[in-house]
């Protein structure tokens, strides 16, 4: 099944690792990338240059963004009737309990600590795909 994923991540090293892991997963996954919070929300709302975009099924959200904190992107999504049903998987380098708690408090679907080794990255992408493709049901798309 084709899955459209938006990755919100400003670190090019992490962007590349995620793209590589997606490619190696050999699944039908379209990965769009937004490198800051503002353009992520514009993409999600299909504004401006993004008006022709395909609606993402899942959002992978980093917390450390240059313009607004990933936390605020999450809140904005959950307060937007058009965006709030999209599952957000927080992908963060922090393992601090406070960060984890805050994310779930703001209704993140999942919190994942970014792995260090490439094979662990492969595993994260593979598991996400098989979970959302094989086990969980995604919210039905908009009209």
């Amino acid at each position: 099944m084709t899955m459209n994923v938006l990755l919100v991540e400003d670190n090019p090293g992490d962007v590349l690792l995620t793209q590589m892991a997606v490619a190696r997963s050999a699944t039908d996954t379209n990965l769009a990338v937004a490198i800051d919070g503002t353009s992520a929300l514009a993409y999600l709302r299909a504004q401006g240059e993004h008006s022709g975009r395909t609606r993402p099924d899942l959002v992978l959200l980093d917390l450390n963004l240059p313009d607004i904190h990933g936390h605020d992107v999450l809140s904005a999504m959950k307060n937007d009737p058009m965006l709030k049903t999209t599952p957000v998987l927080v992908l963060s380098s922090s393992s601090l309990p406070a960060d984890i708690r805050d994310a779930y408090d703001s209704h993140a679907n999942t919190y994942i600590t970014k792995p260090a080794a490439i094979r662990d990255y492969d595993n994260v992408v593979r598991v996400i795909r098989s979970y959302w493709d094989g086990i969980a049901e995604l919210p039905p798309g908009d009209a």
Binding site: D14, M20, L96
Partner: protein
């Protein structure tokens, strides 16, 4: 000075020398006649005269000592001739004088005459109270500072992990995607770089563990150490508990603490015992009440390579390793973290030589206060 000759005579003091000595005493001294109903003062030394601003000879004891007179009379009645009753009291001489803290002695020198001597401890008490106040304030400061450092180290360690993760991930990728283009030397260089990054990661993780302990709230739960030992043994090596490698009593004390930290404490000690016993671990756990009330002393002994006597304090330092990396791996933080945990719980920790070779790690922990059982006892 102000002492009456008659009074001195009653005390049996005849020489001018003896009189001068009494007068020169810094202690406050008076003698009174306990046989007469008003207990009149028959003699008083210069120090007491100066303290109350008058010569009290002839006055009733009560007008000199105020409320303290009754206690002195009590003690006088109970004291035999030639004996002294020693006590402490706080006393404000009547007439608007400030309260004093006194060490007092009541001596019956004859069937009627009683001598009261007092050493003024007021200034000493004030100094020692100031000292202990200052100590308490310093202690609070240090606790806060430790906590702040812990919080800071937590954030710093996290920030350090992020670029390190990039180094590790891309060294990994280099090896995987370009490994076939590297010669043997190139692979060796890559190996050193990967090793360095791995070691850095375990150092930062260890620092994080230490920071988490120091930055944590004071531990207050009741924790059963027998369960802690079981969990720790499971974590260190799964077959450890079954293979008989650990001998422990059926029950261990229940202590006041943080369960997670206590498991970490046991894990670190057991892991060391396993690591440094190249012939296979033989670990003995024992518990005893500590000499100080309210503390339990736990000892974990192994039959391994032991620790040299001159290194027994150094082992608790951060990043402290005693053996070459080629023989035993590790970040040198295990015991530093143990010390931080034991400190946080208000205990002490140390290492000794085990009889027959090997190491004993001992530590003290506060015993959990007894829990009131609702079913027992009379009233709720």
């Amino acid at each position: 000075m102000g002492s009456s000759d008659a009074g001195l005579g009653l005390l049996g003091i005849s020489s001018a020398f003896e009189a001068a000595v009494f007068d020169a005493l810094p202690d406050l001294v008076l003698a009174f006649d306990s046989a007469r109903s008003t207990r009149p003062v028959v003699w008083s030394n210069a120090a007491l005269i100066a303290a109350i601003g008058r010569n009290p000879v002839g006055e009733p004891l009560g007008s000199v000592l105020g409320g303290g007179a009754a206690d002195v009379m009590d003690r006088a009645v109970r004291t035999r001739i030639g004996r002294a009753s020693i006590g402490q009291s706080t006393l404000a001489f009547p007439g608007g004088h400030a309260e004093r803290t006194l060490d007092t002695k009541v001596v019956r020198v004859g069937s009627d005459i009683v001598v009261w001597l007092a050493t003024d401890r007021t200034a000493e008490r004030a100094i020692s109270r100031r000292h202990s106040d200052r100590l308490a304030a310093r202690n609070d400061e240090l606790q806060r500072s430790n906590f702040d450092l812990g919080q800071f180290a937590l954030v710093a360690a996290h920030d350090l992990m992020e670029p390190l993760r990039m180094v590790t991930a891309y060294l990994d990728l280099l090896g995987e995607l370009y490994g076939d283009r590297l010669d043997e030397t190139g692979h060796q260089y890559l190996g050193f770089a990967v090793d360095g990054a791995d070691r850095m990661r375990s150092l930062i993780n260890a620092l994080l563990a230490l920071a988490r302990v120091n930055g944590s709230a004071p531990p207050t739960d009741s924790v059963d150490l027998a369960r802690v030992l079981a969990d720790a043994a499971d974590t260190v090596t799964i077959p450890l508990a079954e293979s008989g490698a650990i001998q422990a009593p059926a029950t261990l004390p229940t202590v006041r603490g943080d369960r997670g930290q206590l498991v970490q404490l046991f894990v670190n000690v057991l892991a060391n015992a396993v690591k440094f016993s190249p012939d296979g671990p033989q670990i003995t756990v024992s518990a005893a009440p500590d000499a100080r009330a309210g503390l339990a002393r736990i000892s974990i002994a192994d039959a391994g390579i032991g620790i040299a006597a001159d290194k027994r304090e150094a082992v608790f330092e951060m990043f402290r390793r005693l053996n070459p990396r080629t023989r035993y791996a590790g970040s040198g933080m295990g015991l530093a973290i143990c010390k931080a945990i034991v400190d946080r719980h208000g205990g002490d920790i140390g290492v000794d030589a085990a009889p027959g070779g090997g190491t004993v790690v001992w530590f003290t922990l506060p015993i959990a206060p007894a829990i009131q059982n609702c079913n027992e006892g009379d009233h709720q």
